[in-house]
Structures are given as C-alpha cells and as structure tokens.
C-alpha cells in the first residue's frame, strides 16, 4: 500500500508529465504488475469456470427441450422427487463421512511420518502420496476389479478365512461403504501432506514448555498441536468437502449410482439425468444444487478462520 501512495505522490508533483508517463508509472506499480501477471489465470478461470457456471445457470432455467424459459421450474420439479432427496442425503453422507475419515487418517499418518527419522521421511512421504498422484479414474478401475461382483480379489482372500462373499457393490450399505472407502484411500494423502507441513511449522519450544508443565501426550496434542493446526485443518476440510461433494469418477466407475440409486451423488445423478436421459436443464439444476450447500459450509469455515486471524 505504501508503495502505491509513494507512486501517486510522485505523479502529483509532476503535473506536466503527460498520459504516457502516467501509464509508465501505473505499470511500475506493484499492484498493476501483480494484476497483469495474474491476468492469464484470471482469463483462464473466466473461460473455464465463470462462463460454464453462468451457462449452467442459464440451462437450469430452461424447459426439457430447451425452448422455453421456466425460471425455477426445474428446482420446483426436483424438490417433489423422492430420488432427488435420496441423492441429497447420500451426497451429504458420502462427503461428510469421507472427509472425516480422510482428516482422521491424514492426521494420524502425518504424526507417524513426522516421528520418522528425517533421513527416511522422504521415502515414506513419497510412498504415502502414491494414491493421490494416480488419476482416480485409473485407480478406481483397479478397485473395481478388487470389488468385482463375481471375481472379487477381496472375497477370494476372505474365503480362506471362511468369510464372505461380501456383495461389495451389490448391496446398498456395502456399496456406500465401498465408494467412501475408495474416496478416503484417494484423498487421505492430501490431508497427510498438509498436516505434515503444519506439524513441521509448530515451534519445538511449545512442546518443550508443555513437557516442563508436565503435559502428557494427549494434552500436547489437544493444547498445542491442534490449536496450532486449526487454520490448516479448516482450510483443508473446506477444500476437501468441496472436491468430495463434486466427486464423479469414483462413484461412476465403481457403482454408477447403483444398486437401486443408493450410491448416487450430485454429479453422477446429474450425468444420469442430463446426458443419459437427454434432460440437460434438469441435469444442470441437480449439479447447481451443490452450490448453496457448499456456500454455507464455506462461509462458516472461512468466517471462523478470519475471526481467529483478527484475534491473533
């Protein structure tokens, strides 16, 4: 800010300098340079995010044959459909339970890795990140084979212990469990790496002080680690919640929403209705329904972070 004020003063003292020099000074401002450097990304976001978002808003206001404006008619229709509410419920179950488990597993594993001697940590970090770096469409295909209804490798292994066969994708409860499991497997490394970075930034002196005060392991976690990681936990949770709510590939490949629609989430249901059912306006409306849910979550989480920032 000081930089901008300084530049403005300089311009004010030299009124004889024409337009060219004011452009010259504008270009020398840090904020202008920053804007220009961010411009390609802003344009890319506008093209790939803002335009499709506005277009889907437009689509959601059309009738099935896309010839008539019907306002909120598609939403009115959806609110009367039982299947839609089933999808809302399942999306919440899927996203919330997956994020909780991802956060929990990420937190625990981050602690383990943090305690591994420094020279071996890189290897562990690399190995634990593998699920996250493999494209999920590809890794989910491998899971599909593991869960295959007739030739499941898991069931084959379990049969040696007299267990099963388990209908991994054929029974509603097991199918929900399977899609959440794969999502947790894929997403936990992201939490792990974020938490590991946060753990490394906690000053050792705080632990030393806690140890002098006689704090046990649990008290150190509760009163030192967690408060220091609070912001990163909130941001990671929000980010993951958004990504998990919008998940498509895992459910689509593993169960395609079945059995009996019991694993459909917003994106898979939108695809079923919009593309497979040739009802694009309704599909757009289903996918847009995520926006208010995620907006409310984002407002709460970001407000909390900003409040703590101000307190600090």
């Amino acid at each position: 800010m000081a930089d901008v004020v300084f530049q403005e003063r300089r311009v004010a003292h030299r009124p004889s300098v024409g337009k060219r020099s004011s452009l010259h000074y504008a270009l020398k401002r840090k904020s202008t340079v920053a804007f220009l450097m961010a411009l390609p990304l802003i344009l890319l976001v506008a093209l790939l995010v803002v335009y499709p978002a506005l277009y889907s808003l437009h689509l959601a206001t059309l009738n099935k044959s896309m010839t008539k404006f019907i306002g909120l008619g598609n939403f009115e229709f959806l609110f009367k459909r039982d299947t839609f509410w089933l999808v809302v419920k399942q999306s919440c179950i899927f996203a919330i339970s997956a994020v909780i488990f991802k956060a929990l597993i990420g937190f625990i594993v981050a602690h383990f890795v943090h305690n591994v001697p420094a020279n071996k940590q890189r290897r562990w970090r690399g190995m634990l990140l593998v699920p996250w770096v493999i494209p999920p469409a590809m890794s989910t295909l491998a899971w599909l084979w593991l869960f295959d209804p007739s030739y499941s490798a898991f069931n084959y292994t379990l049969s040696f212990f007299g267990i099963g066969p388990i209908p991994w994708t054929g029974d509603a409860m097991w199918a929900r469990f399977s899609v959440i499991l794969v999502n947790v497997w894929y997403g936990a490394p992201f939490f792990m790496i974020m938490y590991l970075a946060a753990l490394k930034s906690v000053p050792d002196q705080l632990y030393e002080a806690a140890a002098i005060d006689g704090a046990n392991w649990w008290q150190r976690i509760w009163y030192v680690t967690l408060p220091m990681m609070r912001n990163i936990i909130a941001i990671t949770t929000l980010f993951s919640l958004i990504v998990t709510f919008a998940n498509f590939d895992i459910v689509r490949i593993l169960t395609a929403g079945g059995p009996l629609d019991h694993t459909h989430i917003f994106a898979t249901w939108a695809f079923r209705v919009g593309i497979e059912g040739s009802d694009i306006p309704l599909g757009a409306s289903v996918s847009l329904f995520m926006v208010p849910i995620l907006a409310v979550a984002a407002i709460f989480i970001l407000r909390d972070i900003s409040k703590r920032g101000n307190e600090a």
């Binding site: 007739s150 009996l260 040739s278």
Partner: protein, 446 residues
Amino acid sequence: MSRKKLSRREFVAATALSSAALITAPYIRGAHAAGKLAIGFWDHWVPGANKTSTALVNEWAEKEKVEVQIDYITSQGNKTLLTMAAEAQARSGHDILAQATWQAHAYAELLEPVNDIMEPIIKQNGAVNDTVNYLGQAKGKWLGVPACIGSQIKGPCSRIDLMKKHANIDVQAMYPAGSPPKADNWTLDTFLKAAEACHKAGHPFGIGLGETSDSVDAAGAIFNSFGAELVDAKGNLTVKTDAVRQALEYYKKLIAFLPPDAAAWDDASNNKWLVSGRGALIMNPPSAWAVAKRDAPQVAEQCWTHGFAAGPKGRFAPYLPFFWLTWSFSKNKAAAKSLLTHLSQPSSIEKLVAASGGYDLPAYEKLTTLKTWAEEGPPKGTLYHYPNPYNHQKLSIAASPAPPKVAQQIYTQATLTKMALRYSQGEKMESTLAWAEGECEGFMRS
C-alpha cells in the same frame, strides 16, 4: 517508394469484374468438388470392423468427389452421448452421427428428416421391424437411417452341453441351423425351470439386475412377454395393472435362481460369466461368444445363440438398433444422404455384417439370411437364428410402447430392473408399484 491509391470507383469496378469472371468461368470438377463430410461412426467392438466401414466410405467418396473425415467414437464412458449433446449445444459438428436407440427422438427437433432416402431404401431392402419404426420415426418423419453397424439382438446365448445336461433342453434341436425353430415348448415357464435346474447344478443363468442396458433389455423382454407396460402408447400410466404384477411375480421367482451379485452387474459381467464357463445362459449379442472363441475356445464351441422364451403375450427378443443421424444444421446434407444410401445397399450391408463376424444386424426383412450367420462357428450355425430369420420372435425394446421421450427415461433410469429388485428384496408389491408410478409421473415432464 511510390504507392498508388485505389479509388472507390476502381475498387467497385474490380470487384464487379472478378465476380463476373467467377460466375461465368467454366465449372471444373476438382478432387473434392462436392465438399466435405464429417462422419462420427460408432467405434466397433469387433477388431477390424471399422476398416470395412472406412473402405465403404472411401469407395463412395472417391466416386462422389467428397472429402471425408471419419471419427470412430467409442460408447465407453458414454462418449457417443456426450458428443451428441455437445454438438446439439454448439449447433455444429459431424454431418453424420451414429447413435443408439433413443437419441433420434431425444434430438428430433434438431435432425434432418430422411424420408426421401428411407422410402427407396425400404422398397429395396424390405420393411423394417416395429421397434425401428417406433424409434426412428416421429410424426411420420424418418429421423435417421437404421444403421447396420452396432444394431443387435440380445437374445439368449446358451451353453449346449450345460442346458442338455442340467435342464434337459437341446437348444440345437430347438433352433436348428438352416431350418425354422421348433420352440413351441420354449416358454417362460420352461425358462424358469431351466434356470432353477442350472442354478442347482452350479451354473446359474447370467442375467444382470443392474442399471446398464443389458440388464434393462432383458427385463424389457420379460415385461413385454407379459404385456406389462408402465406407460402405454398414449402416455397414460399403466403401472398398477395385473400384467405388471405378473411380470414382477415372475421376476421374483427368476431372481432366486440368478447369481446373488446380479444387482451389481454391468454390461461386461454377463460376458465374463459366459466366458469363464460359470453360466449356462446369458442374454447378449454374439460378442461374448466371439470373446470366448478367442479366449476360451472350449466354451465357444458349446455356445448357441437362439430365440427368447415365449410369455402369455408372445415371444419378445430384446433389440437395440442404431441409427445414422444428420443434423438439420449440417453443411452437406445432400452428401450425407447420398452416403447413407450407399451404406444401406445390400452389398454394403453384407460386407458390414461379414466384417463384424455376424454381430451387426440390418433392420430390413430381406436381409436376415446372409451367409455370414449360416457359416460362422464353431459350432457351425451358432449364429443362424441370431438375426431372427423366421420372424419367430418380436424384436422389442424395454419401456416400449410408451412415447419415446418417456420410454427413454424409464430405460435410462432402469425402472424395470429396479422394480424387480425392490420386489424380490421383500418390498410389498403395492409399494413397488407406487414407487414406479411416482417415477413415471416424473418422466412425463416436457
């Protein structure tokens, strides 16, 4: 450097002269004088089948002086549907696009009617079956040309040995190669008894109960066999009828003899079931047999494709036709229609059927006895009855005869298999019917 300025008068005179020269110049027919044509064909499962369609297109393009570009679009991951949806939004894309079943009606308002070519084609090749009429026409207009490539009947493909041993049924005697079927006793009751016997013997029939097309098509044939319609041709709800109840009762009995994981099956599951040697019967076009021929020849030589069992309202076979569609905004409709006429010639169809190993089915009644189906094997004649040469069964699609846009929703949402599954899992009949009625009400939206 001197620079001469062009006056307005000089510019107008030069433009007029060059326009006149262009108009009066003699027409020279160049290599691609008839323009360009972009084609989106369905990417065939059968290795090498695409080569034949490319050759047929090139043969036509050379004669007609058209520059062609062919894209083979896979139906894996619904890429064909996505292409169609994107092109409809963009009002731009391929001049010819191959699509299965419902897409002609779904995009009817954006398609070029093809009555002018369909009438002579039908005159030449014979009438098309009722399902092609139902899916390919709207208000008297042909929305597309029935495509040989990809069209298929999903009738039973049985294991000769297992059916004989466990169900005491000789499928070869019932559907002898080269002669009419002797299948009067091949009814849904016989089918159920056979399913039970094979289940007891550890070789259950491989019929899926999932939400993909193989499961839905099989359910459609059984529902049609009972005359069970969820929505009638006029668009009235007919869920709560005795016919639907009978179909559900039958399905409940059948499900008890199907593999326990059938609810999770997709379109690959039944193929694997047959090829692995675990199943005595599946409902599929001959692609499963073709894979078995390559990967498990001992299974393939015991496979026999034949007609479906008859129910109280007749004998129905699941049928899934493809269409070649042309957009109304296509830039070269004349060339597109000319090519579609070429691809619908008996000589072209014969080549396409041969290239697909008998998988592809022409929709026309005069073309169901091509030599490919008689000669394919092992065992020789295994595909003889695949194209329904004696019109022994009615080729049907699930959810018909509901108005196609409603039927598409019933089909896509797999309402029939979901009903069967719900009822078989212990839900009360009336609850299942009420659920289905609610769903169908929603499908009526326009």
